[in-house]
Each structure stands twice: as C-alpha cells, then as structure tokens.
C-alpha cells in the first residue's frame, strides 16, 4: 500500500518535468527519501502503516513540490540545452543507421572464367596455387577485404594480344590500405602510387614473373575492357591500358613484379558486377567482380 502511495505521490510531484530521464531520476530520488524516512520510523518502533503515512505526509504536498520542480527543470535554457542534446543524439543514431544499412565494402565474390586453356604457341608462366584452380576450371571464391586472386590463361587473341598471365589484385583504395599484395612485394620498393581520387573500384594488376618485360605484355588493344552488368563500358583513369604497356615508364615495377593500376571511376551504386575482359570471347579471360557485397565509391 505504502509503495503504491509513494509512487503515486512521486509521479504527481514529477509529472510536470518534461524531460523523461530527469523525471524518472527525480521520482527515484523522492522514493528513496521516503524509504529512508519510513525505515527510520520503523526502527524507532512504529508500525508499518503509520510509518508510511507519516513519511508520506512529511514530504509535503505533491502539487506544491511539483510546481517548484517544474520551475527548476523547465526553464528556457534547460529546454534549449536538452533540445541540442536530443538533436545531437538523433544525428548520432542516423549516422550509425547509415553505416549499418550501407553495405560494407568488406567482401567480394570473385568469379573468374577460363575461356581458353593452353595454347602451345604462347609462353606460359605458372603460379602453383593458381595452377590447381586453373585445372579445375570455373572457380568461385569469396575473399575478404584485401584480395589476391590468381588466374592464368595463355593464348593469343585475334587482336594479337599475347597475354601471359595476370595476378589480379583488387583493393579498395579508399580504405587507405594500399599496401599492395602481389605475391609478397618487397616493401622497400614502396607502394604503388595512390590514385588521385578514390572513386570507383581500383584494380591492381600484377604481373608475376620477372622474366616478363613490358614489351611482351599486351592487355589487348580494344580487347581489354571493363564492363558492368548493364553493358556499360568504363574508361580508365590514371594509366590507360587500352594500349599495350611498352615501357617501364608506363608500368610500375615492384620487386620484379610489374603492376598496372586501373581506376574505374564513378561506378554506379546499383551495379551488381563488373567484369574485366581481355581477349575475345573465344580466347580470352574474364574476371568478374561481384560488387553487391561491397561498397561502391563514386
């Protein structure tokens, strides 16, 4: 009975405190006060009903106390202060929601297709790991944020593009994590240059073997291109790979690996996948990158 009465009294006294957390805190404090007084009266020998009644009466008139509390809590400045805190809280919530609902750029599903296998007229360079995958044909692999994917093909396209083989390294440069992975690079050689902007998807193509020299590498003239699931073709920024990489000046060299960097700008957020294509459909390489599991920067 006493608990119900004090709760009603406290609720009435605090009813006009506008800000819910303040109201609850004040109710708790008044209830604690009542409990202390009641307990003291009980210890003095009073019976429970009388102790509760006396302790409640000693608090005074709930409405009068409520009036005084309202004057303390509901000033213009306290309202302004609480509004600003509420607005800040709302901003934080919105930011968190945005980050949660925006798909993270954390994993890619890579599918690569070997459309052609051994061509005796071409030189072949092997990567052991890739070789097993290569022999298995179609391979699908989901890798974490930093990817190294190896795929090999060899062949000669109709456009006289002799491509030997590639390591495809896909990196989200916007993460500022541009320590390149390309088969154990020597960090003393330094990272590749950072693109001017981090828009789109950055692909780093590494050539594996030191025996390769740029002149022997062709990415195919018009054969090498990037398309998305809608058929949109992308322009390259930075290094133009539409033409072969003939000299060292066009390609970087890191520890006997060659790399060429592609930046695909302005990839639409709704694009599901992009595909790198070298060579022809009959004799070439396709590397499909599933973007739906990653964040597209545009």
């Amino acid at each position: 009975m006493g608990e119900k009465n004090i709760q009603s009294w406290a609720a009435e006294a605090c009813r006009r405190i506008e800000f819910f957390p303040d109201r609850k805190a004040m109710e708790r404090e008044l209830t604690d006060h009542f409990a202390d007084h009641r307990d003291a009266l009980l210890e003095s020998g009073m019976n429970a009903a009388d102790a509760e009644e006396l302790a409640l009466r000693a608090l005074g008139d709930a409405e009068e106390v409520g009036e005084q509390l309202a004057q303390v809590y509901n000033t213009v400045w306290t309202r302004l202060w609480r509004f600003s805190r509420g607005a800040l809280f709302l901003l934080v919530i919105l930011f968190v929601l945005f980050r949660v609902l925006t798909p993270p750029f954390s994993a890619y599903k890579i599918r690569y297709f070997d459309l052609d296998f051994l061509d005796d007229s071409a030189q072949m360079y092997y990567d052991r790991d890739a070789y097993e995958a290569y022999n298995e044909g179609f391979t699908e692999e989901t890798i974490g944020k930093r990817l190294t994917l190896t795929n090999w093909t060899a062949g000669k396209s109709d456009a006289a593009a002799d491509y030997m083989g590639f390591h495809w390294t896909v990196k989200n440069w916007a993460r500022m994590d541009y320590t390149m992975e390309c088969n154990d690079l020597d960090p003393n050689d330094g990272p590749p240059p950072v693109p001017d902007s981090y828009e789109g998807v950055v692909l780093l193509l590494c050539l594996r073997d030191s025996a390769l020299y740029p002149g022997s590498v062709h990415f195919g003239n018009s054969d090498f291109h990037v398309v998305d699931d809608r058929g949109t073709q992308y322009q390259f920024a930075g290094r133009d790979l539409a033409s072969p990489c003939w000299s060292m000046g066009e390609c970087g060299r890191v520890w006997n690996r060659y790399y060429i960097q592609l930046t695909l700008r302005s990839v639409d957020e709704d694009v599901e996948w992009i595909e790198l294509r070298a060579g022809s459909d009959e004799n070439g390489l396709r590397l499909r990158i599933d973007l739906m599991e990653g964040e597209v920067f545009g």
Partner: protein, 108 residues
C-alpha cells in the same frame, strides 16, 4: 516553538548550503541534520528540499553524485562546490548583518 514558515522561506538556500558545509550528504541526511542542529525547530517539508538542491546544482553551487551509504543503499549525494562555498560565505555574512539589525530593532 513553532516558527512561521514564511520566516524560513528566505533562508532556505542559506540553510541548505550550511548543511553541506560539514561534508557531502544525501537528501534525508540533510533533513535529519537540519532537525538536529535546530533542535527540531526547523522542519522543512521534505519534498521541497529537492527543488532547492536541484536549483543549486543547476547553478553549480553544489554537485551531485551517486554513492552507497554506510548501510549499502545507493543514494544521490550532494556536496558544495567552490562556487557554493563562496555563496555560503556571502549569504552567511548577509544573514549576520540582517539578523543583527533586526535584533537591534526588536530588542532595542
């Protein structure tokens, strides 16, 4: 002897600050201390203590914090800030002057 509450009204801030001069206290402790020091002459309507305390807290005259009592109960404690101590000194001096002048008039 019962005291007219209106006479107390203007002095409650001074009384509450004075109660805290001896150290941090929670609400019910302050009520007990007030009764003890005044020999039960001053008996504040206990609920009205809290608007005073919270106003003082807003004005940074006191600061509040949660702590366990000696009996293990968690209570909201209050203590004077430096600003509160300065105000107390000021109010006490004010009261001294006021009361001495009243006494001079009343008791001639």
């Amino acid at each position: 002897m019962a005291i007219d509450q209106k006479m107390m009204a203007g002095s409650t801030t001074l009384l509450v600050l004075s109660l805290l001069r001896g150290g941090e206290k929670y609400g019910y402790e302050m009520i007990l201390e007030l009764a003890r020091r005044s020999d039960n002459t001053f008996q504040l309507r206990e609920g009205t203590l809290y608007p005073i305390l919270h106003k003082l807290e807003q004005d940074r005259m006191v600061e509040a914090f949660d702590r366990e009592t000696d009996t293990g109960k968690k209570r909201r404690y209050y203590r004077l800030t430096r600003k509160g101590e300065a105000l107390l000194t000021e109010k006490a001096a004010e009261w001294q002057t006021f009361s001495s002048k009243v006494n001079a008039i009343v008791f001639g």
